[in-house]
């Protein structure tokens, strides 16, 4: 077979024909490179370059130059990522962050035994595939992020999966363009995909969230994350010349060609269907078992997953700074008629590439054979600085690795940010009663019970889910975060070291101010961690940006603002980012042919150690006669809130976060919890104080009485509704035993904290308004029914 040659004159049309997402400057760079070589490139070479240079792999927007103007001044940002998120991490220089932004996932130290264990965390998106084939898209999304964690260092054992979804409401009844799936179907299928894949791998899916917004109707967002545990000796990977290139796991087929280039462009009706695959969880499980067994025998020197770009990316990445020689005829194939470039670029799932010292090959083969897992020797790493790929002796690729990895021309993008004019919300227009608004909030899709979803996930496999996603007397209240005690991975049942994972996401704030959204998301994620008793001082963050086209200066401007928010949040809270990912071009043509973009979305995932799982906390009220303390100040911040939605109040500002004040409050609360002064804690987010109090009460099946006059106010507030439902950040509600109140107040010295109510045996939620009269009195069962009814009604 002769390798396909691509004449240089015709690059543009070939680029269109093969749906490579290369722009004019990049094509020119390719042409220059091959002109200097005096030869035409092969199809496989161009495919490799297109993959490696795609937005998906290179993150051109985040790492490329941007000219940013906010109306007052214009500045040139050489590398957005490096000037914001990475800068904060660099400056914070936390010693427990073992690896940030380098490997497949961020890694931090874990556990009491210093230096023995480390924990790796990665969150990925799989948006484009899920829009077209939600079941397979979700499955392969989970599979991909699990392999990311398997490919950290020499491999981490996955101990937790997370899932966060953004969809349009399942009862959406507007027009959809040809080929677009209904949001209800997308939701059901994505849940089924995460369930079937995660459950089969034996990884608990115990943390997550749901967010509904009409802006996601054509571009659903599916975030999947994995936390893995690895011994610290396995952190270092190193490829040596002479090591064998070994492909392990599933076979290579024609499926999944062009995934990376596909997800680097907007969705359209003719998006290549071959980019979508169905997962094979059994193959991944075999790969997982075999790989970790081989790791513990120290049989290989480096490993990475085959993600976007398949072998081309995996081998290209590992060979960087060295060189590689690949013989494609050695790959195990699903079908014998694959062309060489197809083998090289195929994104068939459940594959990984290892660098194996030749003397270990026999032992490695035995370990993999014992798990019924296939492997094949593709070639060897060299020291030539070249990537040489052949098929039956025919040259397929012969590229300079320097050009492949560093030849990408940087194109400056323009970003514009215009701050929206602050617009006061007319509070006097609130026409509904507090009880009505509370039920609206509780049954709102973004607040309601996710039990319908969570019960379908095996969230207790590995027997380490000490704080479960559903909490309370009847195991059905909304937990703030989960706590995982990973003894199945460490084998140490006497050591109760654990970790907690939570999320923060709120596109409604982002519509008003992406900068404040970023701060609010970090605040929410950290708040959630505190509520389960985690050590937030040692917390770390992950960012996932999902945005529309960065070629639109206003979209890019908002993205820059959000990234700056991440920087300021990280610095302000003293909490570094260790990993992140962006997914851009989340937009498509709607039924009228107009471009519909998603709202700029930032998911913050946070992980913090829990020194002793036996001292963790849940959010349900534990008994009658206890005091309820509200930490933090309440201001009139209604922009993007559920109250604004419930009463149709437009405008307003997104809630503001003062990270310095918040951080010291969080630190004090965490210390109080560690001392055992708090019975339960819950964070105030969507729906504010009223929703938090209701959730704590009905989960614990004890009533609560709250006096709004006692709430600490950041200025004059004369409305009960504002105090009940506004979404000021950095606030927590704590339940405290009467005999511990004095100690708590001492521990929280300097923190704004007010005793706002008491718990009681009578199962009602009662609120005394500013005028001293009862403004809300509802039985807990009615509130719980409102909160629980939504998803089953819409989905069953």
């Amino acid at each position: 077979m002769i390798a396909e040659i691509q004449p240089l004159e015709d690059l543009e049309s070939a680029c269109r024909r093969h749906s490579w997402s290369l722009n004019a400057q990049e094509l020119a760079a390719v042409r220059r490179h091959f002109k200097a070589l005096r030869r035409a490139p092969t199809r496989a070479e161009l495919e490799s370059i297109a993959q490696t240079w795609s937005e998906h792999c290179k993150h051109k927007t985040f790492t490329g130059p941007i000219r940013f103007s906010d109306g007052k001044k214009t500045e040139r940002i050489a590398n957005l990522f490096d000037r914001t998120i990475a800068k904060a991490t660099r400056e914070l220089a936390r010693p427990w962050c073992l690896s940030s932004f380098k490997d497949n996932a961020g890694v931090v130290a874990f556990g009491k035994k210093k230096g023995r264990w480390a924990v790796a965390f990665k969150v990925e998106t799989h948006n484009h595939p899920c829009a077209i084939e939600p079941y397979g898209g979700a499955e392969t999304g989970v599979g991909g992020v699990v392999r990311d964690v398997l490919g950290v260092g020499l491999g981490a054992k996955p101990v937790l999966n997370t899932d966060v979804f953004c969809f349009a409401a399942p009862d959406f009844d507007g027009p959809l363009p040809e080929g677009a799936l209904h949001p209800k179907r997308t939701l059901r299928s994505v849940v089924a995909g995460v369930r079937d894949y995660g459950n089969r791998l034996g990884i608990p899916t115990a943390a997550g969230g749901l967010c509904f917004d009409p802006g996601y109707r054509l571009n659903p967002l599916v975030f999947v994350g994995t936390v893995g545990l690895l011994p610290t000796w396995a952190l270092k990977k190193e490829v040596k010349a002479g090591d064998l290139i070994v492909a392990a796991g599933g076979r290579t087929g024609r499926d999944g060609l062009h995934g990376a280039t596909f997800s680097s462009a907007g969705l359209s009706a003719d998006s290549p269907a071959s980019a979508v695959q169905i997962g094979h969880p059994l193959n991944e499980k075999k790969l997982l078992d075999a790989l970790l067994a081989a790791r513990d025998k120290r049989l290989y020197r480096a490993v990475t997953d085959c993600g976007a770009g398949g072998f081309s990316s995996a081998v290209g990445e590992m060979a960087e700074g060295r060189g590689a020689r690949v013989r494609l005829e050695n790959a195990k194939l699903k079908a014998s008629d694959l062309k060489p470039w197809e083998i090289w670029l195929s994104e068939s799932q459940e594959r990984m590439v290892l660098a194996v010292p030749p003397k270990n090959l026999k032992a490695l083969s035995e370990v993999f054979a014992a798990e019924d897992c296939e492997l094949s020797v593709l070639g060897e790493f060299t020291s030539t600085g070249r990537l040489v790929v052949t098929h039956e002796g025919q040259a397929v690729v012969d590229l300079d690795l320097k050009f492949l990895h560093h030849g990408l021309p940087r194109v400056e993008k323009t970003a514009v940010w215009t701050a929206p004019k602050p617009q006061a919300v007319k509070v006097e227009q609130v026409k509904r009663s507090p009880a009505e608004i509370l039920k609206f909030c509780l049954s709102h899709l973004n607040v309601c019970s996710r039990e319908w979803i969570i019960r379908q996930y095996d969230h207790e496999v590995q027997a380490g889910t000490v704080i479960k996603p559903l909490q309370g007397v009847r195991h059905d209240g909304p937990g703030d975060a989960c706590v995982i005690w990973p003894h199945a991975a460490t084998g140490e049942m006497k050591d109760f070291s654990a970790f907690a994972v939570s999320h923060g996401l709120n596109p409604a704030y982002g519509r008003l101010d992406p900068y404040r959204m970023a701060l609010a998301c970090v605040d929410e994620a950290l708040r959630n961690l505190i509520c389960v008793g985690a050590d937030v001082e040692h917390a770390v963050l992950l960012d996932n940006f999902c945005w529309a086209s960065p070629d639109d200066p206003r979209q890019l401007g908002a993205l820059v603002r959000a990234a700056q928010g991440c920087h300021d949040a990280a610095k302000g809270f003293g909490t570094p980012f260790i990993s992140g990912k962006d997914s851009l071009y989340n937009q498509s043509k709607d039924a009228n042919g107009k471009d519909a973009a998603i709202p700029g979305t930032l998911l913050i995932s946070a992980l913090a150690p829990v020194a002793d799982a036996r001292r963790a906390l849940t959010m349900d009220i534990k008994g009658p006669g206890n005091a309820l303390y509200l930490v933090g100040c309440t201001g009139e911040e209604l922009g993007g809130s559920l109250l604004a939605q419930a009463c149709d109040l437009p405008g307003g500002c997104a809630p503001k976060v003062d990270p310095k004040t918040a951080a010291s409050a969080f630190k004090a609360v965490a210390a109080a919890i560690a001392k055992g002064l708090v019975l339960s804690a819950h964070d105030l987010s969507e729906g504010g104080l009223a929703v938090a109090a209701a959730e704590m009460s009905f989960s614990g099946e004890f009533g609560a009485a709250i006096d709004l006059d006692m709430v600490a106010k950041a200025g004059p507030i004369y409305s009960n509704e504002v105090l009940l439902f506004c979404e000021s950040q950095s606030r927590l509600l704590l339940e405290v035993k009467p005999e511990k109140e004095a100690a708590l107040l001492k521990a929280l010295k300097g923190v704004v904290v007010k005793r706002v109510g008491v718990t009681m045996a009578n199962p009602i939620l009662k609120v005394i308004g500013l005028d001293g009269l009862v403004c809300l009195e509802e039985p807990l069962c009615a509130l719980k029914a409102a909160w629980q009814g939504t998803l089953p009604r819409l989905l069953s």
């Binding site: 059994l282 075999k286 849940t618 349900d620």
Partner: protein
């Protein structure tokens, strides 16, 4: 005293083996996780072990039907399992392991090797992961439940857990010989429907044993309740006894020693 050697049988897709191993080690056993392929090749022998645990998971992806492929392998490669049972050595099938024991014709025990019961998809049509209340049949001779209270709690997590029997007469027989050892009940101990019975099992059956009491299969996961901190309400301090699951494993180890 020597720690009993306990085989944890693995296959592709088994995924509760590590926590089961931890639980067994905690009660003084010497557990070993062995892939079924080792028995296929004849490298290992069942008879070298004092007890057998088939843990939970999705053996072979639960393709075709839950536990079907592994059950066929057990018939093929663990031919001496019936002898193992006759010798009174403990055999425990958890979740997927229970499905395997049933499909391999080990439970409900019969004179032939025929499969006499089976599992089908939960009535809800969905995978269900939740804690359930269970009632132990105090008249059964099952060795695993010795000394445990009549009412216990354990978590279930399965999609195909609805037990189906060959005939109504079989149910009467099982009642008579007291092999229905575990039933899903409400929190006040009554037989009731969904969600107390998470899958719609006939007669709310959650676990079966043989008449001698050394073979137990159950859908709930004892290895997920080995510390009080596994209980969903441990933070409410309403549950302060030790984990029920751990006691079950302790009983098995005691039995091996006696």
């Amino acid at each position: 005293m020597k720690a009993p050697k306990i085989l944890i049988l693995r296959a592709a897709g088994t995924n509760c083996d590590l926590e089961t191993e931890n639980a067994l080690r905690a009660v003084g056993a010497a557990p070993e996780r062995v892939h079924v392929g080792q028995f296929r090749s004849g490298r290992r022998r069942l008879m070298d072990f004092d007890a057998l645990v088939i843990p939970g998971g999705f053996s072979y992806g639960d393709d075709i039907a839950a536990g079907r492929v592994l059950a066929n392998q057990v018939r093929l490669y663990l031919k001496d399992l019936r002898q193992f049972v006759r010798l009174g050595r403990p055999v425990l099938g958890i979740c997927n392991g229970f499905q395997v024991l049933v499909k391999a014709g080990i439970l409900p025990a019969s004179n032939t090797c025929e499969q006499t019961a089976s599992f089908t998809v939960n009535d809800s049509g969905r995978f269900e992961s939740r804690w359930v209340n269970l009632r132990i049949n105090s008249q059964s001779s099952c060795i695993f439940f010795k000394g445990l209270p009549e009412m216990i709690e354990l978590p279930v997590a399965h999609g195909e857990g609805k037990l189906v029997l060959k005939s109504p007469r079989q149910l009467e027989e099982m009642k008579k010989n007291k092999t229905i050892v575990l039933q899903y009940v409400s929190d006040d101990g009554k037989i009731s429907g969904y969600p107390d019975n998470p899958n719609g099992s006939v007669f709310n059956i959650a676990g079966l044993c043989n008449a001698e009491g050394n073979v137990l299969g159950l859908m709930p996961h004892p290895e997920r309740f080995t510390a009080i901190h596994h209980h969903p309400n441990w933070t409410r301090q309403t549950f302060l006894k030790s984990g029920v699951g751990l006691e079950m494993f302790r009983n098995a180890v005691q039995h091996c020693r006696s």
